[in-house]
Symmetry: C2
Subunit: 206 residues, 2 copies
Amino acid sequence: MSSKRSVKPRKLPQQERSRITVEAILEATAHILTEKGYDKTNTNLIAQRAGVSIGSLYQYFPNKKSLIVALREQHSQEIAELLESKFNHLFNSPPEIAIPELVKAVIAIHAINPRLHQVLSEEIPRSERSQQQMQKTDEQITELLRAYLLRWRDRLRPQNIEMTIFIINCTVESLCHSAVIEHPQFIRDSKFEQEVSNLLISYLVR
Amino acid sequence: MSSKRSVKPRKLPQQERSRITVEAILEATAHILTEKGYDKTNTNLIAQRAGVSIGSLYQYFPNKKSLIVALREQHSQEIAELLESKFNHLFNSPPEIAIPELVKAVIAIHAINPRLHQVLSEEIPRSERSQQQMQKTDEQITELLRAYLLRWRDRLRPQNIEMTIFIINCTVESLCHSAVIEHPQFIRDSKFEQEVSNLLISYLVR
DNA sequence: TGGCAATACAAGTAATTACTCATATTATTA
DNA sequence: TAATAATATGAGTAATTACTTGTATTGCCA
């Protein structure tokens, strides 16, 4: 069962040179994924690009899946941290103020490396994803949203908080993701973030 | 270049028995994809499930990609037709009436075979997708939406029609898709479709 | 009924690729 | 400085799988 195969590093780097090796491997993974897309990416190519032998790669990553998982982890952690700091800043700001700021932040995140973001979220087969880890980050963001919505509950129209969380989360994510990839011209001015903010605010606020 | 490889059937079935073969192959493709997911699907398995030799399969489908493309084509055609008939019925109904009907229809479509829908839209590598064909169906739906929005233009708040089309399309698709897969309990009553309709109506209508 | 075209068959091939292992090199420590 | 641990190497292996090809069977038509 591939789902049983561990994804944890086989060996933790202890000396400086191996930490450099691991870094190079992850950088190469991101680079090859971005350049070639998932299905033209293979471990030999990654090792080559990293300037490292294939054997070294398998010393630190037990299988191909673990490379992807490590990269995703890095990536989602960055996103979660940025959103956390935004929510902390905006916790006491009403939706009319907070929503546009959050939408702006999400668009900015997606615009950093759209192609890598696309590959990680669209092209990686489900079987290559570590369910627990993904859900952890997702739950973290859900929790931030939940706290914020409860804080402003009496200003909000929808009453089913869990459903509202899902709707907001899903809508913002998919709109920002697709816009960056399919309509980059939308992103150039602030019109798009205003529209998305309008969509959410007019739904949320009484 | 895999993108150059034709995807058109190598041979068109002429007798009844071969038409049955082709049907069985497509049914088997859908079945295996649904059961095993994309990356555990292979052509030998499809042929076996279809009760047909691997040679017969390659007589009608020049490569694996063409199987997926044929299946997607069938699938998107069904969706486009259903939406077209809905839009025709509702062309002269105001958004407050039309939107809930359309949302309901989209949810219903996604609920028919959620797993197949998920595999086709999430798991199939981008390289296995025929770009032209996908965009044709997508453009067809865009066109229906455009005509409707123009018809009711003076009742609408957003002025940038192209951006509005994108926002509506993307929002409805992703909400219905994700809800069916991640929150089937939302679908059981009509609360979810009401909420999604509210989201859109409060944004669209002055 | 015989000949031809359409269809069906499945063993086999060739290419890809994740991953191993025996060995060599470099750093650390006692 | 010698011994040991950590790290690096890359040729080779084994498994998978898309696809070919030569042959057999079935249906159609004159």
